[in-house]
Amino acid sequence: MPGKYFVVDTTKCTACRGCQVACKQWNKLPAEETKNWGSHQNPQDLSYNTYRLVRFNEYPAVVNSMVWYFFTDACRHCLYPPCKDEADRYVKDAIVIDDATGAIIYTDKTKGFGDKFDNVRRACPYDIPRQDAKTGVVSKCHMCLDRVSEGLLPACAKSCPTGALVFGDEEPMKKLAEARLAEAKKKFGDKAEIIDSDDVRVLYLVVDDKKKYAQSA
């Protein structure tokens, strides 16, 4: 489907969290109150004020002593978003799809979900939407539609220093994803895959069981 796509090559991610902070900065989202919970993953989870979060997961490895998987988690901008199907049952067009890019946009009408928000959140296979406790408005990544519509890169992709997070049109992005997948298979074996590549606009390349990167990956 035409429109815009991300490629997230987790083999290139160093977890610098430039994307996470660039997202906060562009959207002027406030900081979270956090504490040391034994991981560099900080804050601990996505929230109404955190659209993008780099997840850190450690596992024992066959060859090296351990592997450390980094996963910049945010909305996948599904081609057919189940959250919208669910949400339209409660508030029509609270969630809309941008024609040009395919970005899934949560509008202010999402505050009409009320206690039905849990159903909307459960409808998301990736557990992305988050509700503001005070206003009831629901938020998530909006693909920096304001930037992209003016020909700029989303803040996250713009900041990525290693080329792990890339943004562009369908054809070059799918090509890049395929090329990187072939490379990854050579190096890391057949477990390498592009997660749900036919359903989403954010093409994650992982080299191990996707659940090791994020519970809802």
């Binding site: 815009k4 610098c16 969290r17 430039g18 996470q20 902070v21 660039a22 906060k24 900065q25 562009w26 959207n27 002027k28 989202l29 406030p30 809309v96 799809i97 941008d98 970005a103 946009i105 949560y106 509008t107 202010d108 009408k109 408005v137 938020s139 909006h142 539609l145 304001d146 930037r147 992209v148 519509s149 003016e150 020909g151 700029l152 890169l153 803040a155 992709a157 713009k158 900041s159 990525c160 220093p161 290693t162 080329g163 890339v166 943004f167 562009g168 049109d169 070059p172 992005m173 090509k175 890049l176 090329a179």
Partner: protein, 222 residues
């Protein structure tokens, strides 16, 4: 230097107020309104160098043309070091200036005192000048033990901020060298030893979309 510093603080204080207002203006209503108002479209662009580590990434600071307040900071795609990319620290540069937690007035703790007092810049600068004059007059050496001309001050040391940009560092050097100081240290090595130029990001991929200032490095994606 004194005036620059004062103006800088005044200016960043105003920016703090602006930042607070900006955060309320985020309207997700219809898709189009979301895409319509690119807040940096009419902004003035000023380039600067990230002050945090030795890589020296280029950044663009977007300021409102009317108010002069900072709206946004992001990587400069035309800069050869980072070609638009930034790490988490650099990406947070906006908060260096626009930050409600920032100290915006002089705080003075007298010797043996346990509390801070708010003082004026004029008071602080005069006091610093007097102390520097007193110690420099006492410690200035024209010649060393061998009789060689050294023109140096060894009873004052300088340790500088890790968050100063290139131009501020130059000013600091000029002042300290002019005074005759030899113990001049930057605070950067304490916090950024691991960030060397070798850590600079690799070229950007070729497959990035057409954008206003697209990076142009070759043969990365393959």
């Amino acid at each position: 230097m004194a005036l620059t510093r004062r103006d800088f603080l005044k200016w960043s204080g105003m920016a703090t107020v602006a930042g607070a207002c900006l955060s309320l203006g985020f309207d997700l209503k219809p898709v189009r309104s979301h895409a319509a108002g690119l807040k940096i479209k009419q902004a003035k662009e000023t380039t600067t160098i990230c002050p945090y580590c030795a890589v020296g990434c280029g950044q663009i600071v977007h300021t409102d043309k009317q108010s002069g307040q900072i709206i946004n900071t992001e990587g400069d795609p035309d800069h050869p070091i980072n070609e638009g990319a930034l790490c988490a620290k650099g990406a947070s540069l906006y908060q260096l200036a626009v930050n409600p937690a920032r100290v915006t007035s002089v705080l003075y703790r007298a010797p043996l005192s346990d509390k801070w007092e708010v003082k004026s810049w004029d008071w602080a600068l005069d006091r610093i000048a007097q102390n520097v004059k007193r110690d420099r007059d006492a410690g200035f050496a024209l010649k060393n033990d061998k009789g060689q001309v050294v023109n140096r001050v060894t009873n004052i040391a300088h340790i500088g901020s890790a968050a100063m940009d290139n131009e501020e560092c130059w000013l600091m050097q000029a002042i300290m060298r002019a005074l005759g100081l030899v113990y001049i240290e930057h605070r950067g090595p304490r916090s950024s030893t691991w960030t060397r130029a070798s850590r600079a990001p690799p070229p950007r991929p070729t497959s990035t979309p057409p954008c206003a200032r697209a990076p142009t490095s070759p043969s990365w994606a393959a």
